[in-house]
Symmetry: C2
Subunit: 307 residues, 2 copies
């Protein structure tokens, strides 16, 4: 039988590549020792039909192409150095729409203080943007360097974008989170001095927790600490969606998920929310509001996987 | 009237982006001053239906995704630091073919001594590979820093790939140049100490000459010095193609085009071919084998332009 890539899924493909290159850092970005510091580099491709909701503006598409890449720098606590953009568009694409995309890219670069330093243009049947963010960091925050008993925290509310993708209207915080996400670059720079580990939430909280999990370590998340509003629960129900499913398994908020020692948590000078702790359970668990404890499924957004 | 991108062409789109970002170096790569040296970065996207001939193997596609990016490092005389690959493939893509592509990427990274340090995988309707090459260089070779009277030279034969794309058979040097091009990274490192300017030939000799042309400077190329073989001319004629058109206006050889002072040319320790000189004519000209001089057209491969 001939295997298709959908038979093994995206994570296995990435594992195949990593297992064949000893130079790949298994973290949010590449880390290259250079001069007396580390060069931090990361690339992420966005494809119109896969990554952009229909109601997204061209400006927001351009902005997001920068955000997804800068978010990886943020997760390492890296100082931005430069952004490169490879963009492909159809031959008959409207020139003003192209300028809107570029405007979004430039505004995002300004917002994150990362200069647009280069790129490439191409022709394709739909909009494709592949960004590369470069930065540097003396001591990058790794994603799996937490200790037993550390607290687990996030930089903001999670699950907003997940709900936003399901809602049609334009004027609420959920849709705004889905269409205009922002990377936490400032918070990442501060976390360097406080966090024991960090990653950004792109594929959903559950998926990221499994991504950073080490043998013999486990995570306990408390639903109560997630501070889910009644409005959120009601809106999810109206869409026939399980609100915990949205929060745990969708992502796209670009918030930072980090761990921190109990001693350091009081000193941390950014907005954050503690949502759980590192345990020795060797599993990822959730304590529901009703007191019951359930195992969290390793499920998140993954390309290639047949649904 | 609503303008389409095809109404203005790729070069105008690039000019639009450059004019809106003061941080873009108008050269083969970005140059970012960092620590006591320069970080050199470049990205190039390859799309199956646009960039890969039908008879190209998956291995060669992967190899070429590295070559096109490393070639830009070579043109700057940069020392390679790392390569990042964003790859998108269809959901039902054959797993072994995916592995062949990755094998090509890894072999190319080994060949150019540039470690594969990171990447991203995605789903798309065809194969898309966006590479980013990182390097460094104390004194990058710029593309327009030549002087009046400098000699114009290339690192090898040009036009081989152009002819190769037109030929069906597998067992000749032309098809090999088209399907298995190699970047001149070693030559670029040596040229740092000898050349007055350099760029790589991707869109054709004519296009690159116009790309590097400064006001009041011109170029005279001598057909005789191109050393075009009788075999080349005969094969082109058999395909009903003008051999000078292939050599001047197609490209894809990834040879380096460089300028060098007459004093330095004897000392240059690489294989090269002098093909002309920098003049004060303010135009790009070709002296034909029969002695006639003609103006070279500014025509090369460009995306978006209606044909």
């Amino acid at each position: 039988m001939t295997l298709k890539v959908s038979d093994i899924g995206e994570k296995e493909l990435v594992r195949y590549i990593i297992s064949h290159s000893s130079d790949i850092t298994p973290d949010d970005t590449a880390i290259t020792s250079f001069k007396d510091t580390n060069l931090i580099s990361t690339c992420d491709m966005l494809i119109q039909s896969r990554h952009f909701p229909e109601n997204m503006t061209y400006f927001d598409m351009g902005f997001k192409a920068v955000t997804v890449n800068v978010s990886d720098l943020a997760a390492m606590g890296a100082q931005p150095l430069g952004f490169l953009l490879s963009i492909a568009i159809p031959k008959d694409f409207n020139l003003d729409s192209f300028k809107e995309i570029i405007d979004g890219v430039l505004k995002a670069c300004e917002y994150y203080s990362i200069p647009l330093i280069g790129g490439d243009t191409n022709e394709a049947s739909e909009i494709i943007m592949s960004g590369t963010a470069l930065g540097f960091c003396d001591k990058p925050i790794r994603k799996d360097t937490y200790n037993m008993g550390d607290l687990i925290a996030v930089t903001g509310d999670i699950g907003l974008a997940a709900l936003g993708f399901e809602l049609k209207s334009f004027d609420n915080v959920y849709v705004k989170s889905a269409l205009k996400p922002k990377a936490r670059i400032e918070e990442g720079l501060i976390l360097r001095d406080f966090a024991t580990s960090a990653t950004d939430i792109t594929d959903g909280l559950a998926s990221e927790l499994y991504e950073i999990k080490k043998d013999n370590f486990g995570f306990m998340i408390y639903e109560e600490m997630l501070n889910i509003s009644e409005e959120y629960k009601a809106l999810a129900e109206k869409q026939n969606l399980d609100y915990l499913d949205l929060i745990l398994h969708v992502g796209e908020d670009f918030e930072l998920l980090f761990t921190i020692s109990k001693d350091n948590i009081e000193k941390l000078p950014i907005d954050f929310k503690v949502i759980g702790e590192v345990t020795d359970s060797d599993v990822v668990e959730l304590t529901l509001e009703n007191g019951f404890v359930e195992r969290v499924k390793n499920k998140g957004y993954e390309h290639y996987v047949s649904e």
